[in-house]
């Protein structure tokens, strides 16, 4: 919003990015066992692309934003499972090409970053409140 309390909107943008990242990770984890047949694409892992809001060279930027969401490999892992109702004539089904532990790591990173943004927000707000008391 305004340049006066800029730190607040900067940390707000960061919180938005990490919240989107947590949403994407939640989506990935919810679909970690989503099986599709071989004639459909596999569940593609969601990647959040973050980019910085630059203000030109030599000046402080304006936080971060989600530049877009990218989708991972559509091929997935082919698994031999002839008992599965979606199996093709060779007994293969597609599993998404994701590792659960990677998603958990991402979740922890995103959560810590979100909390760090909240801490910065609170400190900046306290600094501004003290600034409003100058001369009292």
């Amino acid at each position: 919003m305004s340049a006066l309390f800029n730190s607040l909107s900067i940390t707000g943008s960061g919180m938005g990015v990490y919240k989107t990242w947590i949403d994407a990770t939640a989506d990935n984890v919810a679909n970690v066992n989503t099986v599709t047949s071989t004639d459909e694409p596999a569940f593609q892992q969601r990647f959040v692309l973050a980019s910085a809001n630059e203000n030109g060279a030599g000046s402080i930027g304006n936080g971060a934003r989600v530049a877009g969401v990218q989708f991972g490999d559509a091929e997935g892992r082919l698994v031999y499972d002839p008992a599965h109702p979606l199996a093709d004539e060779n007994g293969m089904v597609r599993h998404p090409d994701m590792v659960l532990s990677d998603q958990m790591t991402n979740l922890i990173i995103a959560q810590r970053a979100y909390q760090a943004n909240v801490t910065v927000f609170e400190r900046a707000r306290d600094a501004y409140l003290r600034g409003l008391e100058i001369g009292r």
Binding site: M1, S2, L4, F5, L8, S9, T11, G12, S13, M15, G16, K19, F121, R125, Y128, L129, L132
Partner: protein, 115 residues
């Protein structure tokens, strides 16, 4: 009225605008899960700036529009983090404007009371 000078009227108008912004943010946060709800956006700064330039700060108009940000699946486009941050920022600006008004009244009181 001796207290009706241009700066005081501008500050008073700004308080009204900031109050409208705070109410819009509260509405948006309350409706964060309402399907089809578009966030309200309050803008008064441009109107206030041109009103001050014209010499009539009381002429400010507060505009409440609907945000055109992309919506999620249920048609709702409220970004709750931005609304919370905006609420804090509006509160801080409100405090600054109130402090400015108090400062003006303090000056007048000092001149009148002689202390």
């Amino acid at each position: 009225m001796i207290v009706g000078d241009a700066t005081t009227r501008a500050l008073h108008a700004a308080l009204g605008g900031l109050n409208a912004r705070r109410q819009a943010a509260e509405d948006n946060i309350a409706n964060v899960e309402t399907p089809g709800y578009h966030a309200k956006v309050v803008d008064f700064e441009d109107s206030l700036r041109s009103a001050i330039g014209r010499g009539e700060p009381g002429d400010m108009a507060t505009s409440v529009t609907r945000s055109l940000a992309p919506t999620r699946m249920n048609g709702n486009n409220v970004a709750v983090d931005e609304e919370m941050v905006g609420l804090t920022e509006t509160a801080l600006r409100h405090q600054l404007v109130v402090e400015a008004m108090n400062g003006k009244f303090r000056l007048l009181r000092t001149s009148i009371q002689g202390q």
